[in-house]
């Protein structure tokens, strides 16, 4: 069971305090968008072995949504960061690059 640090209330808490929200940084497609783009937004999800960005909510805590950069293979957590961004911040990218030099970067 994971331990995540909520960037809003600053506690490291166990997974049962959180609820997962799936892949992070999706682009929302709305009325009038192409079928393919909308389908991908709705259904296509990355499932990498390795570096992954996810949404979590501190549901039993402060109620805030945040993002987590995590390794799906080792469960290493590279960092958690604000929910109000559409790309991972530079400091998180730097941590991942340092720990996983072979990582291709956020796409």
């Amino acid at each position: 069971m994971l331990i995540l640090k909520c960037p809003y209330c600053g506690v490291s808490a166990e997974e049962t305090e959180f609820t997962p929200g799936g892949e992070a940084h999706l682009t929302r497609y709305t009325s009038g968008s192409e079928d393919q783009a909308f389908t991908d937004y709705l259904f296509a999800r990355k499932n990498p072995r390795g570096v992954h960005f996810e949404r979590w909510r501190h549901v039993f805590g402060c109620g805030k949504w945040f993002h987590t950069a995590r390794c799906t293979a080792t469960l290493e957590v590279f960092g958690t960061y604000t929910g109000q961004t559409s790309t991972p911040p530079d400091n998180i990218i730097a941590v991942i690059k340092a720990k996983r030099p072979e990582w291709e970067g956020f796409k």
């Binding site: 069971m1 929200g21 709305t30 909308f38 709705l42 909510r57 949504w65 290493e76 929910g83």
Partner: protein, 1004 residues
Amino acid sequence: MSTRLVAGGSVIDRETLVSFTFNGKVFNGHKGDTLASALLANGQTLVGRSFKYHRPRGIMASGVEEPNALVSLGDAGRFEPNQRTTTTEVFEGLTATSQNHWPSLEFDIGAINNKIPRLLPAGFYYKTFMKPQWAWKHLFEPIIRQSAGLGNAPKEADSDRYEYFYAYVDVLIVGGGMAGLAAALEAGKSGAKVLLIEQTANLGGRLAVDDALIDGRPSDVWLEQTIAELDAVDNVTIRTRMMGSGVFDHGYAMGYERINDHAPDNTAPRHRLWRIRAKRIVTATGALERPIAFAGNDIPGVMLASAVRDYVSMFGVSAGDSTVVITNNDDAYRTAITLKKAGLDVPAILDARPEANGPLPTEARNLGIRVETGKAIASVKGYKCVSGVEVCDQAGEGTILETIPCDVVAMSGGWSPVVHLWSHCGGKLNWDEANAMFSPDPTRPPLGADGTGFVVTAGTASGELQATAAMQNASSAGRQAATEAGFNSVDGATPVVIANDEDPMLPIWVMPQGAPYKLRSKSWLDFQNDVKVSDVRLAAQEGFESVEHTKRYTTLGMATDQGKLSNINGLAILADSLNAPIPQVGTTTFRPPYAPISLGSIAGEARGKLFKPIRKSPIDSWQAEHNAIWERVSDWRRPYTYRRDGETTEQAVTREINNTRNGVSILDASTLGKILVKGPDAAKFLDLVYTNMMSSLKVGKCRYGLMCNENGFLFDDGVVARLAEDEFLCHTTSGGSDTVHGWLEEWLQTEWWDLQVYTANVTEQFAQIAVVGPNARNVLEKLGGMDVSSEALAFMSFGDGELAGIQARPFRISFSGELSYEIAVPAAQGQAFWDKVMEAGEEFGMMPYGTEALHVMRAEKGFIMIGDETDGTVIPQDLKLGWAVSKKKADFIGKRAQERSHLQREDRKQLVGLLTENPQDVLPDGAHAVEGGKNRYGQENMIGHVTSTYFSPTLGHSIAMALIKGGSKRMGEVLTFPVGKDRVIKATVVDPVFYDKEGARQNV
């Protein structure tokens, strides 16, 4: 015969007698005894029967690894099967019964299986019971279940209680033997918060049995001083009777504390499951001795060599009068030496190695014990107990050289480090060729949240079997764990251990080397599941080359001991049969728990009234007093109906409906979700989350709204009230308040974070009480307070004021189709308000109604219910709610999805009303309509199903709603619903609004 010795026993209190029963016979033991030691002390060597062949079984080990000596303990609410006698401490009044035999332990009919083992080899079930197919379920399985298996399942509810405890430490040390204590000393010095847990009642592990000099002190003195030293420091806690049962991600460990198994009482919980988060976990879990596979190695009296000396040293119990030791290593000589020094007879030590000249063999010889090298046991003589061993050369095929009479065989096939906890979360192992064992690879530990290893092994658990090296390893593990946990460890002097050096062991997997089938088929590997050398060979022969397959085919290692004694031996035999090296064949996966833990401890306190939280409304106790028949509505309990004396449930519902339609009734609607949405962008935001336009709603007015997910599917509905320009109160379904609140926050925080909106879930701030029926206004007027006339408070509006002296906000909304006020009052005054309404309504025949009357009345009106008419695949347009889906808005959640061609199809399942041919027939909920013909699976072609169905007392006939393919174009069609064998109900498609289509009754 096994018996209590006149002296010895480091953990028993000879002054305190404890009496207990085994199969009804009263025995005495001492305080500190395990059930196993106490049974042996009473000469009881036969304690059970094996799983498959019903072979007689005795005590083999002295600890958690025991495969054989399982019993049922206690009775009634404290009955528990399959308990290991070796980990059960005796107490006054303990009752134990042996298992898996009929009619008795001494004479067991099932032992007939033992005469036909050739007919019951590995995979026997798979090969034999294939045909006819029906026979498995009705014939074979019941017979097999009757004859196999261990103890019976308990029949009564567990009378004990259990709980969890969350603990946070820097260093968790699992195991209170020499290594664990040494690691605790070192970690403790750093100031780290240390918790050391030991599964047995006693600290010291093998130090309690095997002599050594530690820093010049005898081991027992060192032990006592070390415990005192650890007790003296604040940052180290030691807890015994607590097993480290599992290691999980991110430094999570499970500790299974058996609080009062040794002294049952009714106050303390029986077990406490510790959920421990540790920065570092040190596994000082020691090693387990391996048996040797020779013919008859399962006969009661054949024991692990270490166990034999444990019983002598710790419990003052001899397992028998005359013990033959069979070994491939020096350690087992300690058993012979211990026995000899205790005055017991050791006719011979049979050592499979070609020579044995180390200090321990020399000491044994000096004590006058006969040592035979290069020798093996061809076969053990005896059935219910050992009567002797037949000796042969290890190198041969079992030619008998002599027979040595004895009643105990102490065997040692070497030791395996306990790597379970290391492996649970992904720690990797290396094969140690010299000691023929898997040991942890410190370069490949389980990884924690920061990507570094979080488990460190200590002592023999690291694969350091010699005491001197084990001590060094353990001290350094303690320092490493503390340093890695962020503390400065003090580099002190590691205690120096002086113990006898041991010569290398020699791996022996089968005895003798060339054992023929006759011997192999009596050489046990897994004692509990009756798996023998011949079975593993057979599996290999039949192509089960993977160890995981072999395990499942033969059931090797799948018993309650999870192969603690059998896995390495089985693996070696498989490797040998496959002609492959052992590390290439690999190990099976180690999974938690390390040893079985009680189901009660897993459930914790969550049983009985604490099983699951039930949400209760502010009117709950009144409802309970007024005969509420409860219904679960998500986590709430709500009255389904209030049944009066002499009424059936159905009659009560009918009475409540009639009273509402014709007079006035009261409903507790407090469970409806209420979410406050406020901010400059509140209206804009609600336009995005509701399908309809909310920004056009006037202050003081209400509007029914729908929420869809991004798939376009309807998931919640409710009335929205505009409290102010920038403030809305959104009602949700009873089950939907938390979901909807979370949904709003999700969109605000993760997609539209530029919007200035705050939300608050105020569901429970208010009791919401609906006063419903033609006389509703009369009742409210009688209460006194604010103006509730149709002019002041029109349909679909709300007001703020006071009623009966209580702060109140009545909403003119109706889910029944009648004149209706839903009045929100502060929850703490909900009961007071309810009472006043009841009192004022008395002259009008006021009575409460429940959820079923509510459902029937809303169905009469054709109102949908989330969860009945919706199932996660239904869009508002399917439910004739297209009017509530805005065409003007550029965007709302679900809009894009609803543009998909599939959601635009005209033949989607659509909501219709149904009138049955016979008005008294009520369609079953979920009944399917068929249209003739069969699909490619031979099933009837189905065109839809019933979503709500009731008998309407208002209309005097049954009504139903259904989702039917292209339903909106089927008006007047007669549909067929097969509802049972040879029974169909025919129903006509009609408009789903059955009653008061114009809405005249509610809008008055």
